[in-house]
Structures are given as structure tokens and as C-alpha cells.
């Protein structure tokens, strides 16, 4: 079972449970005092087990979220009290901050170009792995390794060395007569370099695709073959629909994750966001505004813009998913 499916079923589960509970708690004449006492005891136990999570949720997530929403409408530098400025931060962002606009632009390119390439690579290689079984465990693990370490500082350092002038990438490209020089300092190539770093981590979605592919009943392909379907037709009419819930899940998570790229961009540019602001990705810029310039109101406003963008993307995906995501056992 994939996670999206389980999120859906879990939601339904919880809903049924809640309905049942409400009925039980409304009590009425049908409910004996003993059962009501039992229900209360369950509530005490439930919240008891949840104490650590509840403290964390209220104190470290919900509370901070609300506080940052408030800060978004203020000017605050950690030393003086926050000063209410209304929508100023948001207005300034979109009308009077070229760095912000550039940051949005490169982040969108990174997310909207990088994620589809990464997912296409993940799906293609998952299908390749699914073709035969020999040694596929070894390949699966090898391809997964970059996902585990890709966001680390060490890999960012290696990546920069690989793409620097006269580094291995530059060198092997010159061998083919392509003379690009170093990618790191090149305004036009540094974003593609970051996209390659993201694509290199195709292993995590690949492993999820592979698990999905293994669950497609072989009979469907046989039936399609019987009807004279070629490989392209089989891919379009069997693989894609049967895999749609997994594609949905991967797309949602990869998009949201891509927006939050930080450590690699920070390390590759030594925290400067250079060359010429081309690695000044959204969260790098947010960090600089919030913690280097101590403009915490402005940075909070930026964070909320990100939340809204992510929420809109999630909303669109969930809304359109009824049209293109099929769950097994569902008529279509």
C-alpha cells in the first residue's frame, strides 16, 4: 500500500472513528454510565499517550506558525519589540525587492524543471530495473545511495569540485569538444548544475515507483498484448494509470521538497547565493534576510508566501487527482 492510499484510508478510518465516538459521547439513554466512564478513561489514556506530541505540536509547530503569521505583518529585529507595519513586507517583496524576484525566479526554474526530470529519470530507471530480476537488489541500493546523502554538506563540496573549472565534468565535456568551463561560477550554468544534483538523487522516488510497478498485475499487460498493444500503448494505458497514485505521491513530495533546497546551495556559494544571485534560492534568501540581516518580520512574510504557494500546489494536485489518480478496485 502506498502512502497516499494509506493517508486516504487512514482519514476515512479516523472519520468513522470520530462519528462512532460522537455517537457514544452524546450518550443518551442508550449509553450506560459504565460505558460512559470507559469512554472517559479512553480519552484520558489517549491524551496521556499524546502528551509529548501535543506539547511539540502546540509549542513547536502550531504556536510558532501563528507567531510567524503575526511577525509577517511587523518589523522585528530580535532586540526591539515587533512594530506593526500591515502589509508592507508583502508589498515590498513584490514591488521593491529585485533580489526577492530573482530568488523566486530561479527557485521556480529549479522546481519546475528539476522535479519533472528527476521523476522521469526515476520512473524510467524503475521500469528498467523491473525488466529483469538479476542483481536488481544491488542496483536498487546503489541508485538509492545518493538520495540518502545528497543534501549533506560533504556532497555539496564534492559537487562543487566536480563542476569547477578543469574539474572532472569540465574535462570530460572538453573531450567531446564541448567547452563550457566551470559551472560553479557561470551564471547560466549554476542552476542547471543544481538541477543535476537534484536529478542525481532520483533513487528515493525510483524505489517507490519500483514498489508500485511490482504491484501491477501481469495479466493486464498480457491482456493488452492480446489486444495488439505495443510497448508505448502498454505504457500509456496500463503502466501510467496503474501507477497514478504513486506518481501523485512522488510529485507532491518532490515538489514540496524541491522548494526547500538549502544546504547544498548555501555551501556551493559559501553562503553568498552567488554568482550574481543565481544560487540565492528561496530558503537561502530567507535565511539571509532573517538571520544575517535580522529582518525577522520580512523573513516571516517570505516564509508565509512559501507556505501559501505550497498549499496552493497541494490543493491543485489533490483537486485534480480525482481526474487522473486511480486506486485499485475503483471503477473508472
Amino acid at each position: 500500500m502506498t502512502t497516499t492510499q494509506s493517508i486516504v484510508t487512514a482519514g476515512a478510518d479516523a472519520k468513522a472513528m470520530r462519528r462512532e465516538l460522537r455517537r457514544a459521547e452524546r450518550g443518551g439513554p442508550s449509553m450506560s454510565p459504565g460505558r460512559r466512564r470507559a469512554a472517559r478513561r479512553e480519552s484520558v489514556a489517549g491524551y496521556g499517550f499524546l502528551v509529548p506530541w501535543l506539547i511539540g505540536f502546540l509549542g513547536l509547530t502550531l504556536g510558532p506558525m501563528l507567531y510567524s503569521l503575526y511577525l509577517a505583518f511587523t518589523k522585528y529585529n530580535l532586540f526591539k519589540d515587533p512594530e506593526w507595519v500591515g502589509f508592507d513586507n508583502f508589498v515590498r517583496m513584490f514591488t521593491d525587492d529585485p533580489q526577492f524576484m530573482q530568488s523566486v525566479q530561479i527557485t521556480l526554474v529549479y522546481v519546475l524543471v528539476g522535479t519533472p526530470i528527476k521523476l522521469a529519470a526515476a520512473l524510467g530507471i524503475a521500469m528498467l530495473l523491473n525488466y529483469r530480476n538479476k542483481g536488481s537488489g544491488f542496483f536498487r541500493s546503489s541508485f538509492y545511495a545518493p538520495s540518502l546523502i545528497g543534501a549533506s554538506v560533504s556532497v555539496a563540496i564534492v559537487w562543487r569540485a566536480m563542476f569547477s573549472t578543469d574539474g572532472p565534468v569540465d574535462n570530460s565535456l572538453s573531450f567531446f569538444g564541448i567547452d563550457l568551463g566551470g559551472w560553479v561560477g557561470n551564471v547560466a550554468l549554476v542552476v542547471p548544475m543544481m538541477i543535476l544534483l537534484a536529478v542525481w538523487q532520483f533513487g528515493a522516488p525510483m524505489v517507490i515507483f519500483l514498489a508500485g510497478l511490482k504491484q501491477i498485475p501481469q495479466e493486464l499487460y498480457e491482456a493488452a498484448e492480446m489486444d495488439g498493444a505495443g510497448p508505448v500503448r502498454k505504457f500509456r494505458s496500463v503502466t501510467i494509470p496503474m501507477l497514478s497514485s504513486v506518481i501523485f505521491f512522488n510529485l507532491l513530495l518532490e515538489l514540496i521538497n524541491a522548494f526547500q533546497i538549502f544546504a547544498s546551495a548555501y555551501i556551493i556559494s559559501n553562503g553568498s547565493g552567488g554568482p550574481a544571485g543565481m544560487t540565492n534560492f528561496y530558503t537561502v534568501y530567507l535565511y539571509k534576510r532573517g538571520f544575517a540581516d535580522l529582518q525577522m518580520g520580512y523573513a516571516s512574510a517570505m516564509a508565509w508566501v512559501l507556505v501559501i504557494v505550497v498549499a496552493i500546489i497541494a490543493f491543485i494536485l489533490f483537486k485534480t487527482s480525482t481526474r487522473w489518480v486511480h486506486y485499485a478496485g475503483e471503477n473508472r
Binding site: 511539540g56 509547530t61 510567524s68 542483481g135 564534492v158 533513487g203 514540496i256 555551501i267 516571516s300 505550497v310
Partner: protein
């Protein structure tokens, strides 16, 4: 009955199969396809793993070779980089950074397992008012960009005078803020049949008893997966210590690497490579030992790397 039926079925299968000649050709073509497949995947593996292999070999290159020798093999192999790196940087020996990282990661693992398992049990097994809403909230935090909470959290820890201590890095783990692990364990508990805890309830066991003596032993695989991922993610975490830790002696490895990267990258590539590789080594070893566990965990739970 079945002993008679099985051979008959096999016999039928054989007799309906194709004549011998085209079958042999088909097998041959299949072998060729497998070989092509194998070669393609091996080539891909070489490309995917090349940066890591290149990194390993680069740690043996003297710094002067960077920018001169982009190939894999060092021309004048040396272990100087390692010798230099072990001494440390900014007056702090290298082992200290490892110890700091290890301490934070181990505390994070303990905290995550403790708090996530408790919360997961409540979500999966206890029916109480508000559970549905709280569960939805927990799922919501899975998708929340965490940048929206780092500024208020920083302000809070600053007010509590906990900046430049490990508390901001460890305390959240004891409060189950990594919703991924709560969710992973919830899913695992849901797949455990309720028979046993129902039997225990009839015998008068409370939730605590059921949790500790029935559920906890059964969810060991989910706990191991959570532990490994928590360890690796904490070990790699950059933003947390970047925000909170200011004293070089207290730096965990990622920030220590930043120190090398800032101070020596222009002059001493070799040392930076060596220390980067050493920082990655525990994770690579972890991965090689637990790869099946990790990859299967990702496959079944949709967990991110």
C-alpha cells in the same frame, strides 16, 4: 488428491508449450536482452556512483593536483590530507566534531523513538474524542515547509537562553516533531491484528501494559527503520546547527565542514575532501550494513531519503 493434481498440471503445461526449435531461439534472445540490460545498468551505476568514488580517490591527491588532474587516480598519492585533517581546525581536534555529531544523533534517535511510538499508539489504537482532527493535523505537518517555524522557534529558544546549547536540536525530537516517524509507526501498528490486545484488555490490562508488553515488541522493525533514518538525517542536518551552535568546540560535523570549506577551500582542497569523506563514512557504512532495511522501508512506506 493434490499429489495427483500437481503433476498433471505440470504435464499439461509442458505439452501445450511451443515446439523445441523456436523456443531455443527465444531463450537465446532472452539471454542477449538480459546481457544488454545488465550492461546498461552497470554503466548507469558507474555514472551514479562516480562522484563518490572520485571523492574517495581525491582524498589522496595533494592539494596542488586539484584543477590540474581531474581524473580519478592521484598522480602522487599521499595520506597527508588525512594527517592534516585529524589535527582539526580552529584549535579543535577532529574527533571532537565526530563526538558532537554522535551525541546529537544518538539523543535524537532516543527522543524520536520514545515520543513517536507513544503518539503512534494513541493514534492507531485508542478511540478518544478529537483523535481524527489531531491525526489530520499530524498529517498536515508532514507537508508544512519547516522554514515557517524556524524564526519563531529561534526567537523562543533565544528568549529561553538556549541558543548555543544542544537543546534546540534535541528537545524537538523528544516531542515527536518528525511526523514522518509517527506516521510510519501508525501504519505499522494498524497492520498488527487486534486480537492480542483485545485478549489482554479482557484480562484487565490497561493501555500502558498493552503498549509495553504487546505492541512495542511487535513494532521493532518500524522502530529500527525510524532509528536509522533519524540518525542519518540528524547526522546530515545543516540548518539546525547553523542556526543554534556558535562555539566551534560544540560544532557538529556539517558546520565543521563549513569551517574547512570557508577557510581552506581555495588553498587546501585535499584536506577539505578528506574531511568531507570522513564525515560521510559513518553514513555509508550504515547504508551498506542496513541497505535492505532502508530501501524496503522507503518502498513500503513511501518514506523520503
Amino acid at each position: 488428491m493434490s499429489t495427483i493434481e500437481v503433476p498433471r498440471a505440470e504435464f499439461l503445461e509442458i505439452s501445450t508449450d511451443q515446439p523445441a526449435q523456436p523456443r531455443r531461439r527465444r531463450i537465446k534472445r532472452k539471454t542477449v536482452n538480459t546481457v544488454i540490460w545488465m550492461v546498461a545498468l552497470l554503466a548507469l551505476t558507474a555514472i551514479v556512483l562516480y562522484p563518490l568514488v572520485w571523492m574517495l580517490f581525491a582524498t589522496f591527491k595533494p592539494s596542488s593536483e586539484f584543477g590540474q588532474n581531474p581524473g580519478l587516480m592521484p598522480e602522487n598519492p599521499t595520506v597527508d590530507n588525512y594527517v592534516k585533517v585529524v589535527e582539526g581546525i580552529a584549535g579543535t581536534p577532529l574527533w571532537r566534531f565526530f563526538a558532537n555529531s554522535l551525541f546529537i544523533a544518538v539523543m535524537a534517535v532516543i527522543g524520536t523513538l520514545f515520543s513517536s511510538a507513544l503518539a503512534a499508539y494513541a493514534f492507531a489504537r485508542i478511540k478518544f474524542r478529537g483523535v481524527g482532527l489531531l491525526f489530520a493535523a499530524m498529517i498536515g505537518t508532514l507537508l508544512l515547509p519547516f522554514h515557517v517555524i524556524i524564526i519563531p522557534q529561534y526567537i523562543m529558544f533565544n528568549k529561553l537562553e538556549l541558543v548555543d546549547t544542544y537543546w534546540p536540536l534535541i528537545l524537538p525530537k523528544f516531542l515527536a516533531t518528525e511526523a514522518f516517524f509517527v506516521f510510519l509507526i501508525v501504519q505499522f501498528i494498524r497492520n498488527i491484528p487486534r486480537d492480542m490486545d483485545e485478549a489482554a484488555r479482557i484480562d484487565g490490562a490497561g493501555h500502558l501494559r498493552i503498549f509495553f508488553s504487546i505492541i512495542l515488541p511487535l513494532i521493532k522493525p518500524a522502530l529500527i527503520t525510524s532509528a536509522i533514518f533519524t540518525f542519518i538525517w540528524t547526522w546530515n542536518d545543516f540548518l539546525g546547527p547553523l542556526l543554534y551552535i556558535n562555539t566551534p568546540e560544540e560544532y557538529p560535523l556539517p558546520i565543521a565542514l563549513k569551517l574547512y570549506n570557508d577557510q581552506t577551500s581555495t588553498s587546501d582542497y585535499g584536506a577539505t575532501m578528506a574531511v568531507s569523506f570522513l564525515a560521510l563514512l559513518p553514513i555509508l557504512i550504515f547504508f551498506i550494513v542496513f541497505q535492505r532495511f532502508l530501501v524496503d522501508g522507503v518502498a513500503t512506506q513511501g518514506l523520503k531519503g
